[in-house]
C-alpha cells in the first residue's frame, strides 16, 4: 500500500514535465468552443506534437505505436498535463480512448494497421455512433438496421449523442444485423467513413445552449463488410470492451479539473461579498467546501486503488461504477453550492463582476449530465447491486 511513485514513474514525470515546459509556450490559445474546424486543427496539432515526442497513446502497446505506459504512468501523464494546463484530448477522445482500444483488442491485423497509426498521429478523428433516441439506458435495444448486400452492409437508422461528428473521419457504429436474435445477440460493430453518402449530421443543441453533440441520420449508407470488427452479431461484446473503459478511468482527468474548479470556488467565496459577510465567513459554507475537498481527495485515492487493481488484474474493476456514482453526486453538490455562493451572478454563463463565475455555472450544468451520460446513476446502482453485491435481478 504505497502512494509514492516509483523511481521510474518519477523519471517519466520529469521527462514529461521538461517537455511540457518546453513546448507549451509554443501552443496558442484554444479556439472558440463552437469553432469546430478550429478545434479539430488545434487538437490534432497537439496530438501530433505528443506523437512526435513519444507521448501519444501512452496506454497503447508499444508494438502498435503506443508508449505501453503502466497505469501509474498514465496517472502521472494526466497529473502533469492537467497541472501544466496542456490542451485536452478533445476531438481525439473517441479515437484514442474508445475506438482505438477496441480495435487493439478486437480488430484484424489489416484493420489495425490501417486505422491505429492515423489516430496516434492526429491524422484521423473518430466519433461514436452507439446511442439512439429510443435506446438510451437500454443501449442494446438499438434499432439502426444493417442489411447485408454483397460485400456491403446497407445501414439505415438514427444515432444521437455523437460528439465531434462534424469533424470526424470515422465512426465506431453499432448496428443491428439480426433483428430476430435476442437483443444483445444481433448487434455488429462497424467502421463507418464519415463521408459516406446517405449520412446526414445535424448539430444537437444541449441545455448549455451550445452544440457539443450531433445527431446522425443514416439512409441506406453502404459500409463494406470488411469494416466490421469482430464477428457478425458479436458487436455487443466488442462494444463492452470500450464500455468498461468508459466507466473506468475516463473521468480521471475530469477529477483533476474539478479540484481546480473547487479551488476557484474557494477563491470566489473569499473574494466576493463585503468584508465580514463574504461567503467564506460563513462556517456552514466553509464546511461544505471542506467536505467537497474531502470527497474529491477520496476519489483521487480511489482512482489510485482502481488503477492499481487494473494493473494487477489487467482489467478495470468495478471501481468505475463506484467512482462514477460518487463523482456525479459530488459534482451535483459542488454545482449547487457554487450557485448559492454566486447568488445573482449565477444568472449568467458568462463571468460576472470580474469573478470566474462562468466556469461554476457551466459546472452546475455539467453535473446534470454526469448522472445521466454513460449509464445513469440508476443503471450504475443496478450494476453494483447485481454484479458486485450479487443481489437478485428484478423479474
Amino acid at each position: 500500500m504505497n502512494l509514492r511513485y516509483s523511481e521510474s514513474e518519477e523519471r517519466f514525470r520529469g521527462e514529461l514535465r521538461e517537455w511540457l515546459d518546453r513546448v507549451l509556450p509554443t501552443v496558442g490559445p484554444p479556439p472558440a468552443i463552437d469553432d469546430w474546424p478550429g478545434r479539430r486543427a488545434y487538437d490534432t496539432a497537439w496530438q501530433r506534437m505528443l506523437f512526435e515526442a513519444g507521448f501519444a497513446g501512452i496506454s497503447w502497446p508499444k508494438e502498435l505505436g503506443g508508449r505501453g505506459a503502466s497505469p501509474a504512468e498514465q496517472l502521472v501523464f494526466l497529473e502533469e498535463t492537467e497541472r501544466a494546463h496542456a490542451p485536452y484530448v478533445g476531438v481525439n477522445f473517441v479515437g484514442l480512448l474508445h475506438a482505438g482500444p477496441t480495435l487493439i483488442a478486437e480488430a484484424t491485423s489489416e484493420q489495425r494497421s490501417r486505422y491505429l497509426s492515423p489516430i496516434l498521429r492526429g491524422d484521423e478523428v473518430w466519433c461514436q455512433g452507439f446511442s439512439e433516441p429510443g435506446a438510451g439506458s437500454d443501449l442494446a435495444a438499438l434499432r439502426t438496421r444493417a442489411v447485408r448486400d454483397g460485400d456491403d452492409y446497407v445501414v439505415s437508422g438514427q444515432k444521437i449523442w455523437t460528439s465531434h461528428a462534424e469533424v470526424a473521419d470515422f465512426c465506431e457504429l453499432l448496428v443491428r444485423t439480426d433483428p430476430d436474435a435476442p437483443k444483445h445477440r444481433g448487434i455488429s460493430w462497424l467502421i463507418m467513413p464519415m463521408d459516406s453518402s446517405g449520412l446526414e449530421v445535424r448539430p444537437l443543441r444541449t441545455i448549455y445552449g451550445s452544440s457539443e453533440f450531433s445527431e446522425m441520420f443514416l439512409d441506406e449508407v453502404r459500409i463494406p463488410v470488411a469494416n466490421r470488427v469482430g464477428a457478425e452479431n458479436d458487436g455487443w461484446r466488442v462494444a463492452m470492451v470500450t464500455f468498461s473503459f468508459e466507466r473506468g478511468t475516463a473521468l480521471v482527468s475530469e477529477l483533476l479539473q474539478t479540484m481546480e474548479l473547487l479551488e476557484s470556488l474557494v477563491e470566489i467565496a473569499r473574494s466576493t461579498g463585503t468584508e465580514g459577510a463574504r461567503p467564506w465567513d460563513d462556517a456552514g459554507i466553509r464546511r461544505e467546501l471542506g467536505h467537497l475537498a474531502a470527497d474529491l481527495d477520496a476519489l483521487w485515492s480511489l482512482t489510485k486503488r482502481n488503477v492499481t487493481q487494473a494493473s494487477r488484474t489487467g482489467v478495470p474493476g468495478v471501481g468505475g461504477s463506484v467512482f462514477k456514482l460518487h463523482y456525479s453526486e459530488v459534482r451535483h453538490r459542488l454545482g449547487d453550492l457554487a450557485l448559492r455562493i454566486l447568488g445573482r451572478a449565477s444568472l449568467s454563463f458568462d463571468d460576472v463582476g470580474g469573478a470566474r463565475s462562468g466556469d461554476q455555472v457551466h459546472g452546475w450544468v455539467h453535473a446534470i449530465s454526469l448522472s445521466i451520460a454513460a449509464g445513469t446513476s440508476q443503471i450504475q446502482r443496478n450494476i453494483l447491486g447485481e454484479r458486485v453485491l450479487g443481489l437478485p435481478r428484478e423479474r
Partner: protein
C-alpha cells in the same frame, strides 16, 4: 378553518389556467427565447386578465382580491413558465401608472449594502423594461431603465430571462418609503414562492407523463422503482411546499393567524427547495433527452434558479427562519 380552495378560488384558478393555455402554450414560451422573454401583446393580455391588478380596489380598476388569490394566480403563471418581471409589475400596480394596465413593463432589482460597497447588480429583462424599480433599505426608487448603463450578458442561464450587469444605477425618484419596501419584500417573496411552487408542480406532471410513455428494457420506465420513487419524492416536495405557500398567502391576508414573516420565509424556502430539486429530478427522469435544448425540462430548473435569487434565496430564508424560532 377551511384550508382548501373555495369555489371562487377554484374558478379563478381555472380562468388563469385557461389564460395560460391560450396565450402561453409551450410553443409560445419557446418562441419567446429569441425575443427576450417579454412580448408586449402578451404582456397586455396578462394585464387585461387582471394579473397585475389583483390587489387594486375595484374602484381603481382592480379585482380587489387578497393574497390567497394572487398566490393561486402566480402559481399558475409559474406552472406555465410565463416569463418576464411578473412580480415587479404586480407590486408596481397602484404606484407606477400604466403597470396595472400592462402599458408599461416594470422590472425591479433589490439593492443591498451601503453605497460604494455594493457588488455589481444583475438586472433581469432590462431591454424590455419601461421602468426599473430599485428596492433598498430606504424605500422604492423609480429609475429610467433606458438610462441604466448595463452590459448585456451574452449567455444568460435561463434563455427566457435575459440579464444585464450594471456597476451602478442612475439616481432615481423615490416612489415609496421603507414601510412599502418592507411590505414589498414580504409580498414579493410570497408571489415568487408561488411561481416556484407552480414550477415544482409542473415538472411532476411533465416527468410523470414521460415516465409513463418512455419504454426501456421492454417496460415503461415509470414501472421501475428507481424512477417511481424519484417521482414520488417530487410529488412530496411539491405538495409540502404548496401547503407552505398557500399558508403564506393566508397569513398576508390575515396577519392575526400567526407570524407572517415566518410564514413567508418558510414558504420561499420550501418552494425554492422544491423547485430546484424537482427541476433537476425532472431532467434525470428524462435521461439523455432531458439534456437536449429541444426538450423543455431544462427551462424549469433554470427558471427555478433565477427565481430563487429573488426576494431572498433559500439560505437567507433559512437564516431568517432561525431568528424566528
Amino acid at each position: 378553518m377551511d384550508f382548501e380552495l373555495s369555489d371562487d378560488q377554484e374558478a379563478l384558478q381555472e380562468v388563469v389556467r385557461k389564460l395560460c393555455a391560450g396565450a402561453f402554450p409551450m410553443a409560445t414560451i419557446r418562441s419567446l427565447e429569441d425575443r427576450g422573454g417579454v412580448e408586449r401583446d402578451l404582456w397586455r393580455r396578462l394585464a387585461d386578465a387582471g394579473v397585475f391588478s389583483l390587489h387594486l380596489p375595484e374602484s381603481a380598476g382592480g379585482a380587489g382580491l387578497g393574497s390567497c388569490e394572487s398566490v393561486l394566480v402566480f402559481e399558475e403563471l409559474g406552472r406555465a413558465l410565463v416569463p418576464g418581471p411578473l412580480v415587479w409589475t404586480h407590486l408596481a400596480a397602484g404606484i407606477v401608472d400604466g403597470a396595472a394596465t400592462g402599458e408599461l413593463v416594470v422590472g425591479g432589482v433589490e439593492r443591498r449594502g451601503p453605497p460604494g460597497r455594493r457588488t455589481p447588480l444583475v438586472v433581469e429583462h432590462l431591454a424590455a423594461l419601461d421602468r426599473l424599480l430599485v428596492l433598498d433599505e430606504a424605500g422604492v426608487w423609480e429609475v429610467d431603465s433606458a438610462a441604466v448603463a448595463g452590459e448585456p450578458v451574452q449567455h444568460p442561464l435561463d434563455p427566457l430571462t435575459p440579464v444585464h450587469v450594471a456597476q451602478e444605477l442612475p439616481g432615481g425618484r423615490q416612489v415609496a418609503g421603507p414601510d412599502t419596501a418592507a411590505a414589498w419584500r414580504l409580498e414579493g417573496a410570497a408571489l415568487t414562492s408561488a411561481l416556484l411552487v407552480g414550477l415544482a408542480g409542473a415538472v411532476v406532471d411533465t416527468a410523470v407523463s414521460y415516465a409513463k410513455e418512455r419504454r426501456q428494457f421492454e417496460r415503461p420506465i415509470g414501472s421501475f422503482q428507481a424512477v417511481k420513487h424519484l417521482l414520488a419524492d417530487m410529488l412530496v416536495r411539491a405538495e409540502v411546499a404548496r401547503a407552505a405557500v398557500y399558508a403564506a398567502g393566508a397569513h398576508l391576508d390575515d396577519p392575526g393567524i400567526g407570524d407572517v414573516h415566518r410564514a413567508i420565509a418558510g414558504a420561499k424556502l420550501m418552494a425554492g427547495d422544491a423547485a430546484l430539486a424537482n427541476g433537476k429530478a425532472c431532467i434525470q427522469v428524462h435521461g439523455g433527452m432531458g439534456f437536449t435544448w429541444e426538450v423543455d425540462a431544462h427551462l424549469y430548473v433554470k427558471r427555478a434558479r433565477v427565481l430563487d435569487t429573488i426576494f431572498g434565496p433559500v439560505d437567507a430564508q433559512a437564516e431568517a427562519m432561525a431568528e424566528l424560532i
